[in-house]
Symmetry: C2
Subunit: 215 residues, 2 copies
């Protein structure tokens, strides 16, 4: 499988979770920063290889084979992210780009030994679950901060948006995985939330609250 094919598979996998009735050509193009016509070409190729079920104009689905391949790429990506943070001292906002390259290195032994070296981690630096060698991964009951009731104290366990901008905002506010958060007030008008973290009070927008996973 080529790097390009792997990138398409991974994007289809991520989009499948959001739109379970077939992934759109345009959605894929948007994620890969390419054109719809290029996506159509690739879908035919992936279909020939039986990695996706594709019918003209009807959206695309991963086959079981395609889903497993996608999970293995996600596994690689997230294990490398753990390596970069835990072993090489990268910050959580610096790892994604490099992991995008490392995830395509083809070696079963490499990834399984890396997994072992890292002590079989269950989650990556952004709180996302890491599939094991069989493609199984933990499902954790997590909620968005925006859904939490006033007065509750919860813990940050992940981010929905993993963009550098968002992660650096969180750095600035000293919010990281494991940070405890108490919801003090919610503004009905615009969804703004007042929270307490690290013994300080902070007002965050609904956009922030909609991208922080807590438990």
């Amino acid at each position: 499988m080529t790097t390009s094919e792997e990138n398409y598979l991974k994007v289809i996998y991520h989009l499948s979770n959001l739109s379970p009735k077939g992934v759109n050509t345009n959605a894929i193009a948007g994620m890969l920063d390419t054109k719809a016509s290029s996506v159509t070409d690739m879908l035919k190729k992936l279909s020939d290889k039986e990695l996706v079920n594709y019918q003209k104009y009807q959206g695309v689905f991963l086959t079981e084979k395609g889903k497993l391949s996608a999970k293995m790429i996600v596994r690689n990506h997230r294990l490398w992210e753990v390596f970069l943070v835990e072993k090489l001292g990268f910050a959580w906002d610096e790892v994604h780009e490099v992991a995008e390259e490392l995830e395509h290195i083809r070696s079963e032994k490499l990834i399984n030994q890396l997994d072992k070296f890292l002590n079989f981690p269950s989650f990556d630096p952004h709180g996302d679950p890491i599939p094991n060698a069989k493609g199984e991964m933990p499902t954790i009951a997590k909620q968005l901060l925006s859904e939490i009731e006033i007065g509750s104290t919860i813990t940050c366990v992940g981010v929905k948006d993993t963009s550098v901008d968002f992660l650096q905002y969180l750095n600035k506010q000293q919010i990281s995985l494991g940070t405890n958060i108490t919801v003090l007030e919610k503004e009905a008008f615009d969804g703004t939330i007042k929270i307490e973290i690290n013994h300080a009070v902070l007002v965050i927008s609904d956009k922030i609250a909609n991208n922080l996973f807590v438990k």
Copy 2:
């Protein structure tokens, strides 16, 4: 720079040491398992980028810029080989293929942090020197086992041939970097050498003796 360009540069770099009066098109083709016509095309491209000095029919030389680029790829390759052996438990005959892929990951921070994580190693698992971030690397006075006089006891410090076949032969004979070797006899007729290693006597061919570096 593309992966393909990097592979050409690296091969030209390695061949330059052997043929300092210009590297031949066919030699490059042989190393990369490609055709001479493809090499010619690439040489023009590398020349346009001022990575090599190339004149039709006259062989090719690396420019200073090209030499530094090549050294950085060699640096990546050898650091990853150290990582695979030291941290992930690979054997020295298992690392080359994976390192061929890892060496092309583009990230200054990645490679410099890896270097630090590995404690700034000077040599890779095959005894080859690792260039530092500036492209400098140690030169060590080493000889081929075939050049050693009878009666001398020396230490294995590297291999000239890094093929899987040769490395596995050495595994079988329990020869690795650091192994002490005493030269007992040399056969004038065919260059066969009788040596003592690990308190055992072993007869090796001239081909073996010509591919083992000792000091």
